[in-house]
């Protein structure tokens, strides 16, 4: 039984293919591969959160490479039982630095936590340095949230809204194999995810991707642990989630 399982795992990991370019989720190099200007990713996600309990949902992102340097992405997610709807747009400029790349990302995210009537607007500007085995993101977030249903006697954007002080964005990633490999496994530790930016609560986990036999498709996934109170040195279980999806380029 163990032999069958290990064979299946190896088959999944060593699917014959060539590397291709992907952007927003973990799936190899982010840069334009010179052939495929369009990318679309779709994933299912599920997990457990202390506040909302079990949840599941989907997310999707479309990316267009205008040139070798400039690209634009737009995405959305819906998480059921957490009752969260999100949308984002992101513009990216790539600056080659020797054998590595430095990406400058500007991003606008809108979240709507429907069960608590809270809207959240996030603006993030960050630099993402990508090397063969390592990546690092540093940046800054502007986070504003407000109550959709305010009490009649209170004023819009004064008593019913809050802007956090500027928040540092940080994240590191480590790959088992060179980034151009057709499959990879990696670790990450960061204070953001695809649709949220925290202040000092970090999340961490394991990510993988593998190119499918059809060269234009990749399988990707992420196991994410999101503790509460992590920078108070007492990390406590808050959310655990799993994400699995497919990317297609053309």
């Amino acid at each position: 039984m163990r032999r069958y399982l290990s064979t299946l795992l190896l088959l999944l990991l060593f699917l014959p293919s060539r590397p291709c370019a992907y952007a927003q989720v973990y799936s190899g190099e982010r840069k334009f591969d010179g052939i495929h200007r369009n990318e679309v990713s779709a994933n299912l996600a599920g997990g457990f959160n202390v506040v909302s309990g079990a949840f599941f949902g989907e997310a999707g992102t479309y990316t267009h490479h205008f040139t070798d340097r400039w690209s634009l992405s737009a995405g959305q997610q819906v998480q059921f039982l957490k009752w969260l709807c999100s949308a984002d747009v992101m513009g990216t400029y790539r600056l080659p630095l020797g054998r590595t790349n430095l990406y400058f990302d500007g991003r606008l995210v809108n979240n709507f936590y429907t069960q608590w009537d809270q809207y959240e607007i996030l603006i993030n500007a960050s630099a993402f340095w990508e090397t063969s085995h390592f990546d690092l993101r540093l940046g800054m977030s502007y986070i504003h949230y407000y109550k959709y249903k305010i009490k009649e006697e209170y004023q819009w954007f004064t008593d019913a809204g809050y802007t956090e002080p500027p928040t540092i964005t940080f994240g590191v990633g480590l790959n088992l194999l060179p980034r151009t490999s057709s499959w990879n496994l990696g670790l990450f530790l960061r204070n953001y995810d695809q649709f949220y930016y925290e202040n000092w609560n970090i999340n961490w986990g394991i990510r993988f991707h593998a190119t499918l036999p059809w060269n234009e498709m990749k399988l990707f996934g992420e196991f994410n642990i999101r503790p509460a109170g992590s920078l108070s040195q007492l990390a406590t279980r808050y959310e655990t989630s799993l994400k699995m999806g497919i990317k297609y380029v053309w």
Partner: protein
């Protein structure tokens, strides 16, 4: 190849740590710092105590208008000067009760012995000031305007010092030390206000366990079941005050203590509105902040610890509750400077 083996080792270590994290709820992302007792266990213990001692604190009684004193992050070590000063100020100015917003002492047994002695001494002074001895073993409160006030033994008299637990209170064996004195980190108390015109008003105090940066599943479940909706009154409170260690709002950019995560922040903001909370008191960040959010007032307090703030300053807050239920607050100055 060596790099690949090294990275593979790191991956394996991560799997191991992540499993521990999920199962035990006690390991930080670094896998080093141990939190001791997880929030779910603390709430189980606290709620059990709450049920078994449901009527220990029947209510706090006030006449017409009253004040209470709030302090945060005393981090008592060998020098309990500021804590002693807080107790003395409350007694001098006749505050109805004290609320402490957590991180009361750093987690060493001898610090808790010092703290316990201080609170025992505080109770003696409180009983001497506010109770009348009717026989060698029984006392009657001078404060309770009730025509037939309860006759209590010394042990039955509750010293009105109500803390919440903080993250520094639960490191290592902290919870064992903290709970041996205070027993419960999740509770509520009613304030019965006897008004001059003969009416009675009720105010409500809610104490949350947010020491882990999350309320945890059990506490949220109990809140949703209405455990904190009032012992005697469900709704109809004139004022509700909430006390939490972890803060909701970050006072400044260069403040590096973690607050609640996104969903929990929004859950709490919504819950405070549902409870019709007048004011939420928070500590944790050692920085002052005051703001309104959709009709709820939020005060985040400076640390009163002599180690963090050695110079005299306004580290406490006094809340004035008027006979008509109106609220105001004033900063309270502390003069104690640590021994050098």
């Amino acid at each position: 190849m060596k790099t690949t083996y090294l990275l593979a080792g790191l991956l394996l270590a991560t799997f191991t740590l992540s499993s521990c994290h999920t199962l035990e709820e006690k390991i930080s992302p670094a896998g080093i710092l141990i939190a001791g007792t997880a929030v779910e266990d603390r709430i189980d213990m606290s709620y059990n105590f709450f049920l078994n001692h449901y009527d220990d604190v029947v209510y706090l009684a006030a006449e017409d208008d009253y004040t209470f004193l709030v302090g945060a992050d005393s981090h008592v070590t060998t020098d309990p000067g500021r804590m002693d000063e807080m107790l003395a100020i409350g007694l001098r100015d006749d505050d109805l009760f004290y609320a402490h917003l957590g991180d009361i002492a750093d987690t060493k047994a001898r610090y808790y012995i010092t703290l316990d002695s201080l609170l025992q001494e505080g109770k003696k002074r409180y009983v001497a000031a506010h109770y009348r001895e009717i026989d060698p073993f029984h006392y009657v409160s001078d404060r309770n305007p009730d025509e037939n006030p309860l006759t209590l033994t010394y042990d039955e008299i509750v010293f009105p010092f109500f803390p919440v637990v903080g993250n520094h209170d639960i490191t290592r064996n902290g919870w064992a030390l903290w709970s041996s004195i205070f027993h419960s980190s999740f509770y509520e108390i009613d304030v019965v206000v006897f008004l001059k015109d003969g009416d009675i008003a009720f105010d409500h105090l809610i104490f949350l366990d947010s020491a882990s940066g999350t309320l945890g599943q059990t506490q949220i479940k109990l809140i949703e079941e209405g455990v904190l909706n009032g012992k005697y009154l469900t709704g109809g409170y004139r004022n509700t005050f909430v006390f939490s260690h972890t803060n909701i709002f970050r006072p400044q950019f260069n403040e590096f203590a973690s607050t609640f995560t996104r969903e929990e922040t929004f859950y709490l903001l919504d819950k405070f509105e549902e409870w019709n909370v007048s004011c939420v008191f928070c500590g944790h960040v050692h920085m002052w902040d005051e703001r309104n959010y959709n009709g709820v007032h939020y005060l985040t307090l400076e640390a009163m610890s002599e180690r963090n703030n050695p110079d005299p300053g306004d580290y406490l807050v006094r809340i004035h509750v008027g006979a008509d239920g109106s609220l105001s607050w004033t900063p309270v100055h502390m003069n104690y400077t640590p021994k050098r």
